[in-house]
């Protein structure tokens, strides 16, 4: 396993790229209203990236044909944009995107409740994924263990009564979209790795309403819960520092 430590210059590029990416994802979240299709969001994402002069890190990655993933309700990740997926009030949409900036990649996901109001279970699920990410990075700094992140995500899910996904993980990011190490939200897959200054990680909290098992659709990309339960997710790209964690996608 080789974890790439980034130079101050590379981290600065990721900082600037992260800010741009966060603004793109935020805008896509604002556009996620009742009646819009996920293909509309994809068209908007391409416009935003072109206007801001950045290139998608997802487009062309292992054959992926879009700039972002749009995962609605029981779709956990890698939801393909489609004119047949039209948002309804109360839906949970996970918008996951990544860009290149000066050769460095940042990766970011938010969950949005369409229309702002939904069932109590869905509201709690989204809150759980958000709080899990906050808890995961709260007390982390160089010298702490990567396993702490997995444990904190799983602990938060336990408190809310939900289940972290096991088959998908967060990851190192920066030079490549997916670098070592794997960062699971499930404590059983926590890795014993000491965090070092300059490590850049995409920490993801993928939380399912019912069970952890997922399945892949025939399109080869869309991953959804086996049991039809909903899923929520948040993701930030962060850099480990001596004093703590700096969130780059903000």
């Amino acid at each position: 396993m080789k974890i790439i430590i980034k130079s101050p210059e590379q981290i600065e590029y990721m900082r600037q790229g992260g800010r741009i990416l966060a603004s793109i994802v935020r805008k896509l979240g604002d556009l996620s209203v009742e009646g819009v299709s996920t293909i509309f969001l994809e068209k908007e994402a391409r416009k935003l990236m072109a206007d801001l002069g950045v290139r998608s890190a997802f487009l062309g990655y292992e054959g992926y044909e879009f700039t972002s993933c749009y995962s609605v309700n029981d779709v956990v990740e890698h939801g393909l944009p489609s004119e047949n997926v039209v948002l309804k009030k109360g839906d949970i949409i996970k918008i996951d995107s990544g860009i290149y900036y000066q050769g460095m990649i940042t990766d970011h996901t938010i969950s949005v409740i369409v229309g702002g109001e939904t069932t109590e279970t869905r509201r709690k699920l989204v809150e759980c994924a958000k709080v899990a990410l906050q808890n995961a990075i709260k007390d982390i700094k160089a010298g702490e263990n990567l396993a702490t992140i997995s444990n904190k995500i799983n602990d938060t899910a336990d408190i809310y009564g939900f289940i972290p996904v096991r088959e998908l993980v967060g990851h190192g990011v920066g030079v490549k979209l997916h670098e070592d190490p794997n960062i699971s939200g499930y404590r059983g897959h926590a890795l014993d790795i000491v965090l070092k200054e300059g490590m850049t990680l995409a920490i993801e909290t993928m939380i399912n309403e019912k069970g952890w098992k997922c399945k892949t659709d025939k399109d080869g990309w869309t991953i959804r819960t086996n049991d039809g339960g909903d899923a929520a997710m948040f993701e930030h790209t962060v850099v480990i520092t001596k004093k703590g964690v700096e969130i780059l996608t903000i």
Partner: protein
């Protein structure tokens, strides 16, 4: 974009001892240290009657979750 969980990796090693039950003691280098692990021969190698003796160079598939065990998936051609 999430990654599908990857928990396996491959290392090169040398067979140091044959043990009963299709298992072998294999010396590998991990984090600049030589360690001995217990590895079993893979089904494909067994099916193809590929024999292993001490001194053979092999490729071992290991899991991140148990660094004491492995699965021998290849024997080097040069003996």
């Amino acid at each position: 974009m999430s990654l599908n969980k990857q928990d396996k990796f491959e290392v090169d090693g040398i067979v140091t001892e044959c043990l009963p039950g299709g298992k072998f003691r294999v010396k590998i280098v991990m984090k600049d240290q030589e360690v001995n692990i217990i590895a079993h021969i893979s089904g494909k190698m067994r099916m193809n009657y590929i024999k292993l003796v001490p001194g053979d160079g092999v490729k071992v598939e290991m899991s991140l979750y148990d660094l004491t065990k492995g699965r021998i998936i290849y024997r080097s051609i040069n003996r």
